[in-house]
Symmetry: none
Subunit: 418 residues, 2 copies
């Protein structure tokens, strides 16, 4: 089973609108084992649209079209469909009443152009749009399925969930294959180092798929498997996961939509322990990530950001002498910042950052990208040195990521190897 998406809209082509519809439909179709093999975006050009319909007819079982169903002049989807299938538009009474009711319920007079919303190709089945005026269209020819949906996300989403997926599932449930997917989140290793660590990928995944998805936060490993049935697929998946965890488990901090701050929050909440943060070069980034997690008030007491005046480091309990002797960007300052904020806030753990975020401010001895991350708990305090590079935004993101990973490893007693 293979599917194709056609998104209609100039606004997508010129980058005015990001194509979140394609991501949504892609994810939903994948989940029922009809992966999207090709996703295209085109404008309201009849010729290209027609040739894409022909390409779909030749190569794909299911084609889903979004957009171009509205009431204005540049909405061409229905016209192109009847042309391609040599059909005619007819008015659907049920849809017409629905459209009239929508305007009535909002106390609006219906512009005449909206009567056209009820026009659908004669050969099509109407897909109910509970949330808007444009009906969806389902056309079948020689066992090829063409589905046209409005481009308004919340209308389209509901139609996919409530009308399309159940019907497609019913049709293709004869198929034996079950698709499963899992994403493991790693941090602390680059894409190539992680790949090297995993060794022979073929040996791990066999005929299945493993994707490396890098970001500044780390590399996500996405496993995709196909099994004969649910339990077969599940066995294959857990076998692959086990092999990956054996080889790179230390670097895996979570799954799917986890974040370091979420994992840390779960541990601290469970243990009823508390955290504080003193930030210089990250300027509140770590604090705002922690506070982004619902319930963080259970373990996060607060933080301080000391940014420009070195003298202000005193507020965190850093000795003025330390700053004068070693500088604001130094191991000693990072350690005193961490200890200072921990005592000030009365928390079990604390983190600190001080560095040269760039682009200015670097020296030969302390170049842009140099960062010290401090950690403190009652029994020990220390700081680690990093060198991240020239990009300010990336420096700040990497520093916050490493700092949170240091805390996670400390909480779980995992050796810190970066």
């Amino acid at each position: 089973m293979k599917s194709k998406l056609i998104s209609i809209g100039d606004e997508i082509l010129i980058g005015q609108v990001i194509n979140t519809n394609a991501a949504f439909i892609g994810e939903r179709l994948f989940s029922i084992g009809i992966p999207v093999e090709k996703s295209i975006v085109i404008g309201d050009e009849e010729k290209i649209f027609l040739s894409e319909l022909q390409e779909s007819f030749e190569n794909y079982d299911v084609t889903i079209i979004t957009g171009g169903l509205g009431p204005t002049h540049d909405d061409i989807t229905k016209q192109v469909l009847v042309k391609y299938f040599n059909d005619k538009l007819i008015s659907d009474e049920k849809v017409l009443n629905h459209v009239k009711n929508i305007f009535k319920s909002r106390n609006l007079i219906m512009p005449a152009v909206n009567e056209d919303q009820a026009l659908v190709p004669g050969m099509s089945k109407v897909i109910w749009n509970a949330n808007g005026t444009a009906p969806g269209i389902w056309i079948e020819k020689e066992s090829k399925i063409f589905i046209a949906l409005p481009g308004v996300p919340h209308e389209m989403n509901a139609m996919i969930e409530n009308e399309i997926l159940p019907e497609l599932k019913k049709r293709f449930s004869k198929k034996n294959s079950v698709y499963l997917q899992k994403t493991l989140l790693t941090t602390g290793l680059g894409e190539s180092t992680l790949s090297e660590r995993l060794g022979n990928i073929k040996e791990i995944i066999g005929e299945n798929k493993l994707a490396f998805l890098p970001s500044t936060a780390g590399v996500r490993l996405r496993i995709n498997v196909i099994g004969k049935n649910e339990s077969d697929a599940s066995d294959i998946l857990s076998g692959i996961e086990k092999k990956i965890r054996t080889r790179a488990g230390d670097y895996i901090y979570g799954e799917e939509n986890d974040t370091l701050e979420k994992i840390i929050g779960q541990i601290l909440t469970e243990r009823k322990q508390t955290l504080s943060v003193a930030e210089s070069c990250t300027g509140g980034k770590i604090s705002s990530r922690i506070v982004g997690i619902p319930g963080s008030s259970n373990y996060y007491v607060g933080g301080a950001c000391v940014y420009s005046d070195k003298e202000k480091f005193e507020l965190l309990g850093v000795n003025r002498e330390t700053i004068n002797k070693f500088g604001a960007v130094s191991m000693q300052t990072a350690v005193e910042m961490a200890e200072g904020i921990r005592k000030l806030m009365g928390t079990d753990y604390s983190l600190s950052t001080t560095g040269v975020a760039g682009p200015g401010g670097g020296t030969a001895e302390k170049p842009v990208g140099l960062v010290w991350i401090g950690f403190s708990q009652k029994v020990k305090s220390y700081a680690k040195e990093f060198l991240f590079g020239n990009n300010r935004e990336i420096n700040i993101n990497r520093t916050s990521e490493r700092a949170l990973e240091i805390l996670r490893r400390e909480l779980l007693n995992i050796e810190i190897k970066f």
Copy 2:
């Protein structure tokens, strides 16, 4: 001039990653008059990739490919290109040194697989990637241009801006029509209220284009015009801009990639004034936005984030009695926070936030979404009340946006009308 985009990546097809790259490139190509006519996404399937290259060759002047240039097994772009063009991969010494230096500068050992990053098709010109290890590739055959770029957004974006656009502009400058684009950034009004305020759009733009692009930060107004030549296009554009500014100028805080924190930074730097921030419900978000701006150490002294224990508000100079009498989320606390941090940090201005970010913690009297934003300078201090809704992330973003906008309006003596 017509262009086509090919994005390579299973992760896009199955909806794990939203295709922001296509939006970025589409917007940039449109701005120089080479609009994207078709944008497609495919996986790492050689056969489909080859047939898309053929379709590009037959129909498009410029084809831009993103993704599939990394060092791992699922990166197939270079292999497919040499196959299609009947070429061979050769090692580029300059790129190899660049890759080695990147690893060296981060004190990392380079895995052997990264040597392959320096392989490029023999017929290609290398496009310099200042921010990463994968070089871009520029191939020309029979005046058709094929460009392959890495999929990592910040690497790709810089290559488009600094390498690709200038070169494409040079090639195609013979064309008569000049495309110009400008984006005005507004905050404080919703899409429909802003539209109402602007009145008859046709009257403002004539045959040109005006797009409303809403986000949590505010609505961007993007103007696109076509002129007979540079000065004609420029005249049309400035005429439209003037009309928009006359009707909604108070709500426009910047242009293009400006941010409130950048604008504020420019003003404070120029005036040699300073700022501090005390955050509760935003937890460091405002501080991290300010610190995200290069040079912020010239005016940003620091901030405090007091999150869970009410007692800790004392650190900011808030009276314990104020908290006990009015609560942590109150006008009085917001004002005392702002005054406290301003005095503690010795700054000219300060902002504060305290609120119920949600999803928990709301009461009938103080529901989720209730926020007080405080402002303080020597001559006055006050706080304003907002009610933002149920979503924690949106609450935090909106609060930080409104707080920075209050500061901007105070700095410029613009009445605060929200």
